[in-house]
């Protein structure tokens, strides 16, 4: 497989995953805007922007934080590299170059998405309908992911999934980092209105709202939520699930065992740690520090993948 092809495949799934994350964040913001503003949390859109890593770009463009502008900036804006539009555009441009490396269905899934978002963009001023837009995005990303199931299980497949899980690990960790204060230990159960709202934001933005209830019995506690999102291997967005899958797709690569070995060596400590750690220890040590280190590690693994395979 061409190095360039591997790189493009890797980025296609990163972009598609990012499109979904941005859409989910928008959805969370939208829900919050329908609730009465509790004092102290009156600008949920700001935290949506910072979770999307777009707060700086947004503030360069707009003076005040308003729903309409946030929606536009995160969904359609061409100057925001992580807008849903740009993610889809980039995924599609990459797919155009490597369509030979995946199935016609995968290409169709991406290209149809692109054709449709062009239409949506043309109509955006007449018909702004955020819930439909976010639902549509999630649907399209699912269509793409579904199409991957008919791919040959070759290195291209593994690069696609490496990209997906690197992006997801990064997105989940960043969301946790923006909201880590919700999960700080408190003497009482989580239960106040504000807390309820905050943890539901976190879970919803990680598409784990209902899953959490099914995974844990009894009372909702901050520790349980933290455990779910950091260490639970059944939760497909937890940090530990992402790391496990990064390791899996990395070691499944059939090309260059020495390259795979070098990257794996860098990763294996984190993997072991996260599989064995107790959430109480992490919380005690400092969730924020833990997440920050995690983000740094993921970014160094990403750099290594680029250096070893794509150059």
């Amino acid at each position: 497989m061409l190095s360039r092809t591997a790189e493009y495949l890797y980025w296609i799934s990163r972009y598609m995953e990012r499109a979904e994350t941005t859409a989910r964040l928008l959805d969370v913001g939208y829900r919050m805007s329908l609730f009465p503003n509790p004092s102290g949390y009156n600008n949920e859109w700001e935290s949506v922007l910072s979770a999307a890593g777009a707060i700086e770009g947004y503030k360069n463009k707009y003076d005040t934080i308003e729903q309409k502008n946030v929606e536009d900036y995160l969904f359609f804006d061409e100057s925001n590299p992580s807008s849903v539009y740009n993610c889809i555009l980039n995924a599609r441009n990459n797919a155009l170059v490597v369509r030979t490396s995946f199935t016609p269905e995968s290409w169709l899934a991406i290209n149809k998405t692109y054709q449709e978002i062009l239409n949506l963009k043309e109509q955006k001023f007449t018909k702004s309908d955020l819930p439909n837009l976010t639902e549509w995005t999630i649907e399209q990303v699912n269509l793409f992911r579904g199409s991957l199931s008919s791919l040959l299980r070759n290195d291209g497949y593994n690069f696609l999934f490496l990209g997906l899980f690197i992006e997801r690990a990064d997105n989940s960790a960043r969301l946790l980092d923006v909201k880590y204060f919700v999960l700080l230990p408190k003497p009482q159960y989580v239960g106040g209105n504000i807390d309820n709202m905050q943890w539901s934001i976190l879970l919803r933005s990680l598409s784990s709202f209902r899953a959490f209830r099914w995974a844990y019995d009894g009372n909702i506690t901050a520790t349980k939520i933290a455990d779910f999102l950091v260490l639970n291997n059944n939760c497909p967005r937890s940090l530990s699930f992402c790391i496990q899958n990064i390791v899996k797709h990395l070691t499944n690569l059939r090309c260059s065992p020495e390259k795979v070995g070098r990257i794996y060596n860098n990763l294996k400590d984190l993997n072991t740690k996260i599989q064995e750690e107790k959430i109480e220890t992490i919380v005690e040590y400092g969730l924020h520090q833990f997440v920050t280190q995690f983000i740094r590690k993921i970014s160094s693994v990403d750099n290594e993948i680029h250096k070893e395979f794509f150059n």
Binding site: N93, L96, T100, L108, K112, L118, F159, C255, S256
Partner: protein, 464 residues
């Protein structure tokens, strides 16, 4: 489709019945379906303007049909021509017998920009310079087919031939139950076989590694490049994916370097090797020509193959067929006046109102004058051009191209068409059982080029 005013040619009867039973609502729906399909699969033109939407070529639902016997003649004629063009290339880059025999004057060959001096004395595998040839044909009467143009470099359009058929089969399966249409979907397999049969001498691999070299996504034929490499299961590479080391060509893969045996290039000569052709070029693979000449890789088509489809050389193709193959040409050229010759120039200037004047190096329907359809001022403009640079032009009569029924605003109307079938020459010579039919969508127009409002149709060859 029509023999005369109201008599339908036999092999179109089925299609006529089919058309009769389609309501305009169905036609509208099917047109929209085709457009969506083409957009979805991405068979579009890229434009340099990133924000503009990509364009698609208008697709006409009514197929163009050839009978088995009609096609047999075209097949023989095109293959004959393709063989002669390759023999011509082998000759002029080696002994130059056709020049010694005074059939073609040497100036018009050796002074052309498309003539590649560095190819002198080198013979590519099997002496095939141009393994993929697209011959543009027009029909002016029941059995009168003429060759309008040869394309020996990197003829494009074959993806339309294949996709037009796919969409027709998908939208109108019944048509294919009721008509015996020869399939064409084995073209990519045959193309790959052709390329593999042209492995370079130093290739020891029983299954030579072929790649398709594309200039990249901004090229207007990019869809075709990715489509063909996908169908053949070979890598589509850009020049930055390739490099030369120790007399071989390699591509950069995740496993490290992998040797490449055959390059099906879809980029121009100028951009192949900056060391050899255009030192200013930022694309290209430094040293590839050296590897090529020492038998480490084959480049298809060969650099310098373009001389064979030069409009000034075109005039001599019937002579080539006689000279190299000892046969009579099966397909005729369109009568052509070579403005370089004083007498012929005079004729052209005197009759310019009746003629089509073309630039020797022009393509895509640009840089031409259609005498009977042009204003006095543009005719005068061309007269000046002809007098100052006669070498740069040829002239042909305005051919009454055959009409093919075409759906225009839900009505069946006649529109002019041409045809480009694709000929493959490697271990064996073969012609696609169909081709790309281009149609001039504007009423009265003679120009079928997609850059100027041309559309495309599915092209059927009926089985015996």
């Amino acid at each position: 489709m029509y023999q005369s005013e109201s008599v339908i040619r036999n092999h179109y009867n089925n299609i006529n019945d089919w058309l009769d039973q389609m309501t305009s609502k169905v036609i509208l729906e099917k047109n929209a379906e085709a457009e969506t399909h083409f957009r979805n699969i991405g068979i579009t033109f890229s434009t340099n303007n990133e924000t503009a939407r990509e364009r698609i070529i208008p697709f006409d639902l009514i197929p163009r049909i050839f009978t088995y016997t009609e096609w047999l003649r075209l097949e023989r004629g095109v293959i004959q021509r393709a063989k002669a063009l390759n023999a011509f290339l082998a000759d002029i880059y080696n002994q130059g017998e056709i020049i010694k025999a005074n059939i073609i004057p040497k100036e018009i060959i050796y002074k052309k920009k498309s003539f590649e001096p560095s190819m002198f004395g080198f013979s590519p595998p099997r002496d095939i310079y141009s393994p993929i040839i697209g011959i543009d044909l027009v029909r002016t009467g029941p059995n009168d087919y003429f060759v309008l143009e040869d394309n020996c470099r990197t003829p494009s359009g074959v993806s339309y031939m294949l996709e037009n058929r796919e969409i027709m089969m998908r939208m109108f399966p019944d048509l294919f139950h009721n008509n015996r249409v020869t399939p064409i979907d084995d073209y990519p397999t045959r193309l790959l076989q052709t390329l593999m049969s042209l492995a370079p001498i130093k290739c020891e691999n029983p299954e030579p590694v072929c790649v398709l070299l594309t200039p990249g996504p901004l090229n207007s034929a990019y869809y075709e490049h990715s489509f063909l490499s996908d169908q053949m299961g070979i890598e589509m590479v850009e020049s930055t994916d390739l490099f030369v080391e120790g007399k071989y060509l390699y591509m950069k893969t995740v496993d490290g370097p992998k040797r490449v045996d055959v390059v099906y290039r879809r980029i121009d000569d100028d951009f192949l090797d900056p060391l050899c052709f255009n030192p200013q070029s930022v694309i290209g693979i430094p040293g590839i020509m050296d590897v090529y000449r020492t038998g480490g890789v084959n480049i298809c088509s060969a650099p310098g193959a373009g001389i064979a489809d030069d409009k000034a050389i075109y005039i001599y193709v019937p002579e080539m067929i006689k000279f190299y193959l000892g046969e009579q040409p099966i397909l005729d050229n369109v009568e052509t006046w070579n403005c370089e010759k004083e007498q012929e120039l005079k004729y052209v200037l005197d009759n310019i109102n009746e003629l089509v004047v073309k630039e020797v190096d022009g393509s895509g329907g640009y840089g031409m004058l259609i005498g009977p359809k042009s204003s006095k001022s543009s005719i005068d403009e061309f007269k000046t051009k002809l007098s100052t640079n006669p070498k740069g032009y040829i002239a042909q009569p305005l051919l009454d191209l055959s009409f093919s029924p075409t759906l225009i605003k839900n009505q069946v109307e006649g529109r002019r068409v041409d045809l480009r079938p694709f000929c493959l020459i490697g271990e064996q010579a073969q012609l696609s059982s169909g081709g790309l039919t281009r149609v001039a969508m504007n009423e009265g127009s003679f120009v079928v080029n997609s850059s100027q409002g041309g559309g495309v149709k599915d092209t059927w060859v009926l089985a015996e």
